[in-house]
């Protein structure tokens, strides 16, 4: 479970992609997201996914992105099955399923290469309300903690004879109750404690607190941003005007 989830969790890595300004990484991710939506055929999507994997390789997160793809493939298979039932067209169903994988991978690339601190800076750059930024970033920061909690709880319940891996779907869902209740209770308790700890450290004392980091774009950041915009425009142009649908 943690193996799969780690496909979405940030881990500090030194790569050319990680060294980019987080806003540039966001731009690349948004462009990849957009071309995933714009592509209208399986070969176009395959090209987009291949490009994403190339970006992942540069960012040295290819293995983890592959895990993300593995996890989303399960949902993609479901999307494919539902579309087959309703549209009865294999190519359209495959396109929707592949598009789902591409969309998830495009966002995953941003999240696994961007630390919660960088995410906070990016959100502040867009002038989002501080409380919302803080709540969102804290939630992201706590994902690995919750994952570890969930695993500890599952271990504890398995050690009390709970067979989580056996039985039908309904039975398995029901067996998750002893895992979910402690997880939710612990999370609520932890959030209360965190709120008190933040208040005791003067959270909200001034309307515009100063920041430890300030990001400045370098010439390399600007070059990558420009190149990505050019590539994005070229892809969009070719999808709509060069390659027949």
């Amino acid at each position: 479970m943690y193996w799969l989830a780690s496909g979405f969790i940030f881990r500090r890595t030194d790569s050319p992609f990680h060294r980019l300004d987080p806003r540039v990484r966001l731009l690349v991710s948004v462009e990849l997201f957009a071309v995933s939506l714009m592509s209208r055929t399986i070969p176009e999507l395959a090209g987009v996914i291949a490009f994403m994997l190339a970006v992942s390789a540069v960012a040295r997160v290819l293995k983890r992105v592959t895990r993300t793809m593995l996890l989303t493939a399960t949902f993609a298979a479901f999307i494919f099955a539902v579309n087959i039932v309703f549209t009865r067209q294999v190519s359209t169903s495959a396109l929707y399923a592949a598009r789902f994988v591409a969309i998830v991978v495009s966002t995953s690339i941003f999240f696994i290469t961007t630390s919660p601190d960088e995410l906070e800076q990016v959100m502040k750059y867009f002038h989002l309300p501080r409380d919302i930024v803080f709540a969102f970033v804290t939630a992201v920061r706590f994902i690995p903690v919750l994952m570890l909690d969930a695993m500890s709880i599952m271990d504890a319940q398995k050690s009390r004879g709970l067979e989580l891996e056996k039985g039908g779907i309904v039975s398995r869902v029901r067996k998750m109750i002893p895992v979910l209740i402690p997880l939710v209770v612990n999370s609520v308790v932890r959030s209360g404690e965190l709120a008190e700890a933040m208040e005791s450290r003067a959270y909200g004392a001034v309307p515009r607190p100063t920041s430890l980091y300030e990001y400045r774009t370098s010439a390399r950041d600007r070059a990558v941003a420009l190149a990505s915009v050019v590539l994005f425009a070229a892809a969009a142009y070719s999808f709509y005007f060069v390659i027949p649908a």
């Binding site: 500890s152 004879g161 402690p182 209770v185």
Partner: protein, 255 residues
């Protein structure tokens, strides 16, 4: 990175074993292998002669009951009695037996007055006792206590030590994973010292706790009484033949 490396350990029936070592030494990883929560990538872990790789954790738990460090990671039922019944039902005990075992566990752990209370409203010590009650309710032959004294005050620790002594008298095999050397010392278990995934010492507490250097290499401090005895032993004409004699002398003085 190897979490456990070249560990060979045999724990016999009715033995009380304490696994000590610094954080990250591999203590919890070792215990997780005993219960099948982790499967060894090399070597074998046998429980009652059966390879843990061939059994699910739920199956192994019938023989090995584990009380995890954080009770909040397992309590979820609406009442204390239902919390105890959870494991018993998972193992397929009949209703009459479930009721009887609940009664025994509540009585043994002094939780009778909380029978219908929510487990979430109990104090830290009571929660800890409840997790032990849950495990002992199905009478496993091996009881593993992972960091049992974390978050416990002195009185709760004393109660816990008393419970361990009672379990010992009933012939249970007890495995204690703990940093709390002062808690372990009066129990006088067999002590297994771990460091960097390896067992660096294994023997009776009275011998292992005396090897200060080896304990220090595992970042484990000696119990105060052993330090006291070691300091006196260095002086000429030390009045004590061994650490037990020092303990008896000190107990007499304190009385």
């Amino acid at each position: 990175m190897k979490a456990l490396d070249g560990v060979t350990l045999t724990i016999g029936d009715s033995e009380t074993v304490a696994i000590v070592g610094e954080n990250g030494a591999g203590k919890t990883t070792l215990v997780r292998h005993m219960t099948g929560l982790l499967k060894p990538t090399e070597g074998r872990v046998l429980v009652d002669g059966e390879d843990v790789r061939e059994k699910s954790t739920a199956e192994l738990s019938r023989k090995i009951g584990v009380a995890f460090q954080n009770p909040d990671h397992q309590l979820f039922s609406e009442s204390v009695e239902e919390e105890i019944a959870f494991g018993l039902r998972n193992f397929g005990f009949e209703d009459g037996v479930v009721r009887q075992r609940i009664g025994w566990a509540l009585n043994f752990f002094g939780l009778e007055e909380y029978r219908r209370s929510s487990p979430l409203t109990l104090s830290g010590g009571e929660k800890k006792r409840l997790t032990l009650a849950c495990i002992l309710s199905w009478d496993p032959s091996v009881v593993v206590l992972d960091e049992p004294t974390v978050g416990q005050d002195a009185i709760q620790k004393e109660k816990l030590a008393e419970i361990i002594r009672m379990l010992r008298s009933t012939g249970k095999t007890i495995v204690l994973v703990s940093h709390d050397i002062e808690f372990l010392w009066p129990i006088q278990p067999r002590v297994v010292v771990m460091s960097s995934g390896r067992v660096i010492d294994d023997g009776p507490a009275a011998r292992v706790m005396l090897s200060e250097e080896r304990l220090a290499s595992a970042r484990v401090s000696q119990p105060q009484l052993v330090s006291f005895y070691s300091a006196l032993k260095e002086r000429p004409g030390s009045p004590f033949a061994d650490v037990h004699e020092a303990r008896r002398w000190l107990s007499g003085r304190l009385r």
